[in-house]
């Protein structure tokens, strides 16, 4: 955008003498939109020549060339449909331009530059700016959901402010992180969604950005597009550009929306009577005394889901002002968002201000500045992996017969219920006793100074800073089991300094040879600081974290500092011949401090070819083909997310206890095995694509096929344990992804008062672990907490990353089969498993791969219908082929093995009269991790539906109102899925974890209804 503006201004500068020279000959006129607004910055070119001019602030132009009077003028501009007008000797031409619906004319932001879509050689997907507006969302990435092929947006946690993880063309990495690189107004930000550490939920990296501020989002997918980001490009790049001011009349825009969220799907659970019935049945089966001989003694019948959840409101206000003159433009916006969570005591608030300025300092210098300052506050409900402590989990397992309070007003302990696990917290006590708040102050700003050296050659120097101060307050009250009242405050500061120095050169030889080069040198440094203070044993809960000194036992304070640096040289050259043949080569050389001494620098080249058949003579005359392009690319990208200091021999401080008064003593030892050869993961990607645009761009089709080979996978390979070390970080192993992407955009009806657009996308990705670093060809993804205490993910050669792994059920035992069989202790009605290896017993060797956590196919369909002043749009999307490990069901569907409340459907348990029951007989036999708990998570979802009404101009006779619209919308209104848990879109473990696709007491998804108002002055 900025560079485009630069070019515009430069061109204006160069041609202004011509404009001044004569007013007598040539053609002049004015360009307006269909709404009657004048349009500045429209290029007016005399066809077949290099003569051109631009419209000024009032949409006026003057082409001072006599030849123009007999020629054809071409009017073109970003987001306007190009129009050709024969002058026929007229002196004045006034025309009305239509807003472009075709993306071909659109400018696409790519790494360190922009391109016209028709000139692209790489696979770049863009979200139409309108689509961002179609769905009122609090977080920007949600706008990507279901819209683009090859882009999977994973809601790891439906909590307000919860993390969203993005996979572009599948995951490449086992340990190195799979999140794309975000480039926000030119500032590269790697957002490690992180893993769920067992106590807290992962953070949303884009939480500080107001979606209303976003002008465009582009996703760079193939190597030709991403190699310019070198060691950070392997997972794709999401480029976010915010709104900038335009010369012209000052504009003020206001938007407010408010709504209500309710739980999308409540899990039907047993009521009090049914709970006691299944408990008594278990006792009879086991031959023990009945826990509830007299049901009338238990009068409580609580629906804990209702008690911990609520209908939660949200509202979001944005106000922006923009405008400026030819030399200085501004766009300033403010935002306030307040979203309550459907689980009580959770919510998200954001206040943000953004200032984007574009200043022409003189004919040669232009400054472009983008600043966002924000404060977010995220109050988190406890939805940890350590499920005994998770509010959602406890709300499911808690017996309905437990009252909330005792008669004296204190919390009732679930352990007093004869069949409850004493480790379960009273859900309300946990809800109120656990306070967790993450406050983030973020300043993200950068300035880009462009110096126009000579015609076509410019130097841009960008400096920027991303400073985040995060304060995490955590207080666990004394009513939470095991807590004496414990408080901690963690403060961290993460700052990233950026300097980029980019040289651009564009030239044209003759009429047909176009050539441009981008080259540069960049520097980015990240410094992290942290400090933690804590204390426990409080006499009262009233202080929360506000008086650490009141805790009688203080914890050890900790602090830390880390730093990493990335130095890069980059270059890209584009050559095109006659808008037919395109060649792009790019390369980046990255030097990262994280890499080992012997491997500091990595080189990441790419090349791409494109052939625009539509520009060839044989297609030029085919009027229904607007554009037809074939392209192919190959390139290498890297992934440097290997963590800091992993190549060094580190001596860490280690605490142990000695002394008569048992005090802490600090020792020092080497805690990791150094690897001076440590380097980036390398992905080689091949891509071939077809771009077809038909019927005057009414139908556009995009097809891509890609293959990605990721080698040198970062792997924590176990060194022999007899070294005392857990592992050695090395580059070993590989992952293969290949896939197919299809998208189609159609303008089905295009009339003045009736328009109908349809956009569809489909993608399929097949990811396989090709090689792991171990001779066994497999390793496990890490245990899930009690009561599962097992790993459900396996990383196994030939199978998708983090495939599910477990036993296979084989119906239920009947009366006589158990004795002398593979399960000698089983009784009639117990779960039966398959003896896969046929050794006559059920052992760990009887497990197999039971599916994959990533969908095999993703698809989306969105459509907009505009009739007169009404506009209706919807977004449907779905995923097919993924499974979810329903860890909740391991407790609430275990046929009462551990006394947890059960799902209603468990009433279909085995009895001698109900032999083909779905569930085993209630007993104390724990289930194994088996196919019973891996559920099909395929779904189709009506993600958004919105009805918008634009008031006609000058409604209510208010002249100063330039636009006014109101809308109502609903999100997640309908979802079709077989998944029995809260929501099939779930991954409790967060972003980069080998444990995947696990629903462990995850925050339930909401259904949202909202209404909004927009107006502009």
């Amino acid at each position: 955008m900025k560079i485009k503006n630069t070019i515009v201004i430069l061109l204006l500068t160069f041609f202004s003498p011509l404009i001044a020279a004569s007013q007598e000959k040539g053609v002049h006129g004015q360009v307006k939109s269909s709404k009657g607004e004048t349009i500045p910055n429209i290029t007016v070119k005399l066809k077949g020549t290099n003569t051109l001019t631009r419209t000024d602030m009032d949409g006026k132009f003057n082409l001072n060339v006599a030849a123009a009077q007999n020629g054809i003028l071409i009017f073109s501009g970003v987001s306007w449909t190009t129009q050709e007008v024969a002058v026929n000797g007229k002196r004045q031409i006034n025309i009305v331009l239509q807003e472009s619906t075709s993306e071909l004319d659109g400018v696409v932001v790519i790494g360190y530059g922009t391109k016209l879509r028709k000139d692209l050689t790489g696979a770049v997907a863009s979200i139409p700016p309108k689509a961002i507006k179609e769905m009122p969302v609090v977080s920007a990435e949600q706008a990507l959901q279901g819209r683009l092929s090859g882009v999977q947006v994973i809601q790891t946690n439906s909590a307000p402010g919860g993390a969203i993880s993005i996979r572009i063309r599948g995951g490449n990495s086992a340990l190195g992180g799979n999140e794309p690189l975000y480039v926000i107004d030119g500032f590269p930000v790697y957002s490690n969604v992180g893993t769920n550490d067992g106590k807290t939920q992962a953070q949303n990296p884009l939480a500080s950005i107001n979606p209303n501020d976003i002008a465009s989002m582009e996703v760079l997918k193939d190597a030709s597009a991403t190699a310019i980001y070198g060691a950070r490009g392997a997972n794709g790049v999401v480029i976010i550009t915010t709104n900038r001011g335009k010369a012209g009349k000052a504009k003020l825009n206001f938007e407010s929306n408010f709504g209500i969220q309710t739980i999308r799907h409540k899990i039907p659970m047993l009521n009090g009577k049914e709970y006691m019935y299944i408990a008594n049945t278990r006792a009879k089966n086991l031959g023990t005394s009945l826990p509830y001989p007299d049901a009338s003694l238990w009068t409580s019948n609580n629906d804990w889901q209702d008690l911990i959840m609520r209908d939660a409101p949200f509202n979001n206000y944005s106000l922006s002002a923009s405008g400026g003159n030819e030399n200085n433009q501004y766009n300033i916006s403010g935002n306030w968002a307040d979203q309550s969570g459907i689980v009580r005591n959770s919510g998200f608030k954001r206040g943000a201000i953004r200032i984007n300025l574009d200043n022409k300092i003189n004919a040669k210098l232009k400054l472009s500045t983008s600043i966002t300052a924000s404060k977010t506050d995220n109050q988190q409900a406890r939805t940890s992996l350590d499920i005994y402590g998770g509010i959602v989990y406890v709300g499911l397992v808690a017996p309905p017969i437990a009252p909330i309070y005792k008669e004296d007003g204190s919390y009732y302990k679930l352990g007093n219920i004869p069949t409850a696990d004493p480790a379960w917290d009273n859900p309300i006590a946990l809800l109120k006793g656990y306070q967790y708040n993450v406050g983030v102050n973020r300043f993200l700003g950068n300035s880009n100074l462009t110096y126009s050296i000579i015609d076509g050659l410019s130097l841009s120097v960008r400096v920027g800073i991303d400073n985040q101060d995060v304060r995490t307050d955590r207080y666990v009250g004394r009513d939470v089991i095991g807590s004496p009242g414990s408080a901690s405050i963690a403060n961290s500061n993460a700052v990233s300094y950026l300097n980029e120095n980019i040289l651009n050169y564009a030239t044209q030889f003759g009429d047909k040879h176009k050539f441009d080069v981008t080259t540069g040198f960049t520097f980015q440094e990240d410094i992290g600081l942290s400090v933690l203070a804590s204390s426990q044993n409080f006499d009262t809960d009233i202080y929360g974290t506000n008086n650490l000194g009141a805790g009688s036992v203080s914890g050890s304070p900790t602090s830390g500092k880390s730093k990493n640096t990335l130095l890069s040289f980059l270059g890209r050259a584009n050559y095109s011949y006659d808008s037919k043949y395109y060649l792009t080569v790019s390369a980046r050389s990255d030097g990262s401090s994280r890499f080992g001494f012997g491997n500091k620098w990595g080189f990441f080249p790419s090349a791409a070819l494109a052939w625009r058949l539509s520009a060839e003579d044989f297609l030029k005359e085919v009027s229904w083909v607007s554009d037809f392009k074939l392209r192919a690319s190959v390139g290498k990208t890297g992934n440097q997310e290997i963590g800091n200091y992993n190549s060094l021999a580190r001596l860490s401080s280690i605490r142990t206890i000695f002394g008569a008064d048992q005090s802490s003593v600090i020792g020092y030892a080497m805690t990791n095995m150094p690897n001076s050869q440590l380097k980036w993961e390398t992905t080689t990607q091949y891509d071939a694509g077809i771009e077809l645009s038909l019927f005057n761009s009414r139908l556009s089709i995009l097809v891509d096929y890609y293959v990605k080979h990721t080698n040198d996978l970062l792997a924590n390979i176990p060194v022999p344990l007899s070294t005392g070390f857990g592992g050695l970080l090395v580059n070993s192993g590989s992952i293969r992804n290949k896939g197919f992407e299809f998208s189609a955009d159609a303008t089905v009806i295009k009339k003045d008062d009736f328009k109908w657009d349809v956009r569809a996308n489909f993608s399929k990705n097949v990811g396989k672990v090709h090689e792991v670093a171990l001779s066994s060809g497999q390793f496990f993804g890490g245990n899930i907490f009690s009561p599962i205490d097992a790993s459900v993910n396996i990383i196994k050669e030939g199978y998708p990353l983090s495939s599910f792994y477990g036993y296979v059920t084989d119906g239920l035992w009947d009366a006589n089969q158990a004795t002398g069989s593979i399960m000698p202790n089983a009784k009639a009605g117990d779960q039966r498993y398959k003896d896969l290896n046929g050794d006559g017993r059920i052992t760990a060797d009887d497990r197999m791969v039971l599916g994959q956590p990533d969908p095999k196919m993703l698809y989306g369909l969105s459509s907009t219908l505009a009739y007169k002043n009404f506009e209706f749009n919807f977004l449907l999307y779905g995923a097919y082929g993924a499974k979810v490990f329903n860890a909740n069901k391991f407790s609430i569907g275990d046929a009462f093995a551990r006394g947890a409340n059960q799902m209603k459907e468990v009433l279909d348990f085995w009895t001698p009269e109900n032999l083909d029951a779905k569930y085993p007989r209630p007993s104390n036999v724990n289930p194994l991790v088996s196919d019973r708990f891996f559920e099909d998570a395929s779904f189709l979802r009506l993600r958004n539906v919105q009805l918008n009404y634009n008031f006609p101009e000058k409604t209510f006779g208010i002249n100063w109102l330039s636009s006014l619209s109101i809308y109502v919308s609903a999100q997640n209104l309908l979802t079709w899925t077989k998944y029995s848990g809260f929501d099939p879109e779930v991954s409790s473990t967060g972003g980069s974890d080998l444990r995947k696709g696990i629903d462990v007491g995850a925050y339930p998804a909401a259904k949202t209804f909202s209404a909004g108002l927009r107006f502009g002055l």
Partner: protein, 495 residues
């Protein structure tokens, strides 16, 4: 050409601009700067560094996979007194049908070797540090003690294991071949003979809890006992007795009081404070969840095996019984609760009490490795074995332990004394029986069963679906897969 030169000039120029703006050079910028840890280059120079290296060698003892609970999960569940009624991962240990990739086995193995490698680091680095020679020798002796201690645990659980005595600090040193059981024992006894000579008799102040001369001698006595070197075991035990540093406390229960840790009976224990570093012994041993006043959360990972001799035949007059095992307890509200009416209907263990524990991981109790009763029983057994039958000293040592349990005067012949006149084998059985009562959930039982070759037959007889051929724990699969000096043939029998 002209243009090209211009171009490169500009590129250079832009690089310079970038460097000037940030004030750093290309080369230096990529050197990793460290702030929150030390690197090996600038360490091991001062007496304080030597001290820190030794402290670090002890540190793995308090890790999750070692004395915090992981090691106990392995050794307690596998014996005949402890069981668990749920969870396949734990039941695999309980049944002694353990997959070679079992995480508990892997974790414990690794922590033992972590102690060993850090001891090796100390032994390699401390001699080069200029410092007081006496203190230097004492620190080196601690390293020998820690190394021997861990090889002893390894050789008993796993048999022949990789034996490393050099510091491992780079990827080219990681593969160590297995040494024979004899070689491992040779290393252990060599190390302990060095350790016992340089370690101090007592510890005071900040060093309370660290290895002493008595600890090294007791360990060596236990090593000799396991090697069936009866004379060696008896004489080392006698040396401990003659140090006069330790006694039997009058009251069995007070040995385990959290307000009386490091008491006179304790020879070596692992130090926990329950605040910064706590363990789960109380939580894992007790029943009743948060309602049990003796723990923050009794989750009963270790339940009494109701088919065990200890549960079925233990004399109710033995004060150790009511203290060590129970099937009823008084809850926080003061009511008596039967364990059979809880969600985990098994008798539980009462030895480890942490009444002020705030959760199941804050037990401050110091897990006992050796206490004086052990020395007496080692002495009794070894002396009798050495002499072909118990002499008066052997019998007296055994009876002292029993008298305390039955609340008799420890040093006075009593009505419950074992009579003289047993033969060697019968006497040894009595000692082992006494040990089985004395050391319930103290991590001694499994080793007694193993060294007397009753394991795993004894748990097979309890009806557990035990691995049909294994007698030792499996060498972790990860070790076999990664250690290039090992092959699958190096795995223990039955895996």
């Amino acid at each position: 050409m002209e243009k090209n030169r211009f171009f490169l000039g500009k590129l250079f120029y832009s690089c310079i601009v970038g460097l000037l703006l940030l004030g750093s050079g290309c080369k230096d910028a990529l050197q990793e700067e460290v702030f929150s840890f030390l690197s090996t280059e600038n360490f091991y120079k001062t007496p304080a560094d030597a001290e820190a290296a030794v402290v670090a060698a002890y540190a793995p003892f308090v890790s999750t996979d070692y004395y915090r609970y992981g090691y106990y999960n392995l050794t307690l569940l596998a014996d005949d007194q402890v069981t668990i009624g749920r969870n396949p991962q734990f039941q695999a240990i309980d049944n002694f049908d353990i997959p070679a990739d079992h995480p508990f086995v892997r974790g414990t193995w690794q922590q033992m070797y972590s102690c060993i490698n850090r001891s090796n680091t100390g032994l390699a680095r401390i001699p080069g540090i200029a410092m007081n020679e006496e203190l230097k020798n004492e620190l080196l002796a601690e390293c020998y003690f820690i190394r021997a201690f861990n090889y002893f645990n390894l050789v008993r659980l796993f048999g022949a294991v990789p034996l490393t005595t050099d510091e491992i600090n780079s990827a080219d040193k990681v593969n160590s071949p297995k040494a024979s059981v004899q070689q491992v024992y040779k290393q252990i006894t060599d190390d302990l003979l060095k350790a016992e000579s340089a370690l101090p008799v007592t510890r005071a102040g900040v060093k309370v809890g660290r290895a002493t001369k008595g600890a090294a001698k007791t360990l060596l006595a236990d090593v000799y006992l396991t090697m069936e070197n009866w004379a060696g075991a008896a004489s080392k035990a006698k040396e401990v007795i003659d140090l006069n540093s330790n006694v039997l406390l009058d009251n069995f229960n007070s040995v385990f009081s959290v307000s009386n840790e490091n008491n006179k009976e304790i020879i070596f224990s692992i130090q926990f404070d329950g605040v910064n570093i706590g363990n789960s012994l109380a939580s894992y041993a007790h029943a009743g969840g948060t309602d049990n006043p003796n723990t923050g959360n009794g989750v009963q990972v270790w339940s009494v095996d109701q088919k065990s001799d200890m549960w079925l035949n233990w004399n109710l007059n033995d004060s150790r019984r009511t203290f060590s095992v129970y099937d009823k307890f008084i809850n926080r509200a003061g009511n008596e609760i039967s364990v059979y009416n809880t969600s985990r209907p098994f008798p539980a263990f009462g030895k480890y009490n942490a009444p002020n524990e705030v959760s199941g991981i804050n037990c401050p109790f110091n897990p006992i490795v050796y206490r004086y009763a052990d020395v007496l029983l080692i002495y009794a057994e070894a002396l009798s074995q050495e002499n072909g039958g118990p002499n008066a000293a052997a019998l007296e040592a055994l009876n002292q332990v029993k008298r305390r349990a039955y609340k008799r005067n420890i040093n006075v012949i009593s009505d419950i004394d074992y009579p003289a006149g047993s033969d060697k084998e019968a006497f040894r059985k009595l000692v082992l029986l006494e040990r089985s009562y004395e050391f319930v959930v103290e991590n001694r039982r499994i080793f007694d069963l193993m060294r007397t070759r009753q394991f795993p037959q004894i748990i097979k007889q309890l009806g557990k679906p035990t691995n049909p051929t294994a007698t030792l724990f499996p060498i972790p699969l990860a070790e076999i897969e990664t250690n290039k000096a090992l092959s699958p043939a190096d795995q223990n029998l039955g895996y």
